[in-house]
Amino acid sequence: MIKTLKYIASLLVVVLMAGPVFSLSDAYKNNIYNPGDLKPVDSVARVKAGDKAPDFTLPSISGERISLSDYRGKKNVVLSFVPAAWTPVCSDQWPGYNLAKSFFDENDAVMLGITVDNIPTLYAWTNQMGKLWFPVLSDFWPHGAVADIYGVLRTSGVTERALFVIDKEGIIRYVNVGDINKRPELGALVTELRKLKK
């Protein structure tokens, strides 16, 4: 009897502890792993608006190695760190930026999508999103090194859900390290992009 009750109680705890399931495209079928509700932020900021953006070079899923400094003097850059491939909120974030290309174009900006996943994982995952117009970079090895420099590497080894807007001079103009469980609202990013013109 006690054993049965313990089992039922454990089962209910699992059900109750499960995090919220967010809006999820059917594009991913049943291949999304739900990590549940996570600690909103689990890292310490290392850069802030007004700082010079640390340069980095990372491999992309297209095979190129891309450096932040490649865009110096040419384009504004939005860095979009998302925690992990094949997870709920992340899977529905970049397809939105893919659709919203016009906002980036209007403001002479590019986006660089970054996770700590390896290239094959990123390749398989982003293929479900359709053809992305922006480079997808892997911060897999040394694990999360770029995320760490920017202060968005969580203790679990994944990154925060973070946005950095960097102007053509390489200066960070906007930092958003939001609740990892929530997708940042597009309007707020567009507002920051529009400020670059002023």
Partner: protein, 190 residues
């Protein structure tokens, strides 16, 4: 020990039983009723006219002036919804051009987790003419069982104001003519 364990399990059962009221429910089932979801009456006069609504405040889906209301659950962030948007537009055009269906069957969209800004962007991006409503904090999405997107629900409204769900399925429209035939079938309007 045994007593406290039973007490603990009872508490958990009670919590689990009330979870649906916080939105942890199943997708709406055909034959059942649509959960109570309300929206602000649109400011846009054309939308007010289309939906048969007036003034301010909020309204429930079955209050829309129609015999059948089709509800599209989508997200601007969902690749399949993006791909299906032109097909949904084509379906709406055909619906609006059908003499028998145009005043009886109404179509609305709910952007799960989408802000007003995101809804507005999606509308402009695809030239969507039917009313879209935002659900920025997923409140409605939770009430309707956290369905994957795109998802379509249709309700048939009776003369006495009651209603029942006649269609509830995951997936986009994919083919406007075939979906129109489905609508004719479940609405009984031909």
């Amino acid at each position: 020990m045994r007593k406290s364990l039973m007490g603990f399990a009872s508490i958990l059962f009670v919590i689990a039983a009330v979870l649906p009221s916080f939105g942890q429910s199943a997708p709406p089932q055909e034959g059942g009723a649509l959960p109570k979801i309300s929206f602000p009456v649109p400011q846009d006069q054309a939308y007010q006219q289309y939906l048969g609504l007036k003034g301010g405040g909020t309204f429930l889906v079955p209050q829309i002036k129609a015999k059948v209301v089709i509800v599209q659950i989508f997200s601007m962030y969902c690749p399949h919804c993006q791909k299906d948007a032109p097909v949904a537009n084509e379906f709406f055009s055909k619906l609006s051009a059908d003499g028998k269906l145009k005043d009886s069957v109404k179509l609305i969209g709910i952007g799960a987790g989408n802000s007003d800004f995101e809804i507005d962007f999606f509308r402009k991006q695809y030239g969507i003419k039917f009313p879209l409503f935002s659900d920025g904090d997923f409140e409605i999405h939770k009430i309707i069982g956290e369905v994957r997107t795109p998802y379509f629900i249709a309700i048939k409204i009776n003369k006495n104001g009651t209603h029942k769900i006649v269609y509830s399925k995951l997936g986009g429209i994919e083919n406007a003519d075939e979906f129109l035939n489905k609508v004719k079938s479940f609405s009984g309007i031909k």
